[in-house]
Point group: C2
Chain length 131, copies 2
């Protein structure tokens, strides 16, 4: 049996292990690349960039919100198309300068209508010796 105090300490420890938005390495331009992955299938859907502000908005909405480098503004994915992405979890790497956002997508990720933005193979890397 654990005392209520012990449980409180345990919860506190878990809480402290989690990274806070401001603790990520935001770098000079204030942006971090984020890999969006389908939480169910594992398929990689998009690489986009997040800012502190887009992270705060994503947390509020529970849906992906990026920072558009071309338009220089927040970009709530699917706001006009309806192809939103419900956020399941956000993890950062050992350097704290990249994110993986696991999502349940509500439609295709790509503006071309493709399920994933990654559909163009780069020449010279296909592995024919599948061992």
């Amino acid at each position: 049996m654990h005392s209520l105090f012990e449980l409180e300490v345990f919860i506190e420890e878990i809480w402290e292990e989690m990274k806070k938005i401001e603790e990520l390495r935001w770098g000079e331009n204030g942006l971090i690349p984020a890999v969006v992955q389908n939480a169910t299938t594992g398929e990689i859907l998009t690489v986009a960039y997040v800012s502190r502000e887009s992270m705060a908005r994503m947390r509020e909405l529970g849906e992906t919100v990026f920072f558009s480098r071309s338009r220089q503004c927040l970009w709530h994915k699917g706001e006009t198309s309806g192809n939103t992405q419900k956020v399941v979890s956000v993890t950062t790497d050992c350097d704290e300068d990249a994110l993986v956002i696991r999502v349940h997508p509500n439609g295709p990720a790509c503006h071309t209508g493709a399920r994933s933005c990654f559909f163009e193979e780069v020449e010279g890397f296909d592995d024919n010796t599948d061992d």
Copy 2:
């Protein structure tokens, strides 16, 4: 039945659809973020950066080669640790400014010994309503 000429045209078309290294959008610093994914499990292992030169070396070796931003040099993953990553395929996205590299890893991806570099959860995004 297809003529040999028709088959040649067909192969040519597939070839031309593939992106060449120099056709990627290398940007000002000459680097593109690359997501390394376990080809078997779908797990995201690392986000690292590639240069034209690291891509050419990766193609030669059939193993991941990145450009280390901190050390400003090519970085053949696993060269000293033995934890190499055999390249299965490389795809780019609709903007041609990000890559997904699918690999067969020969050991952990992370310098901490973790299988994946993405092991730190960011606070406030855990989805408790799993619908």
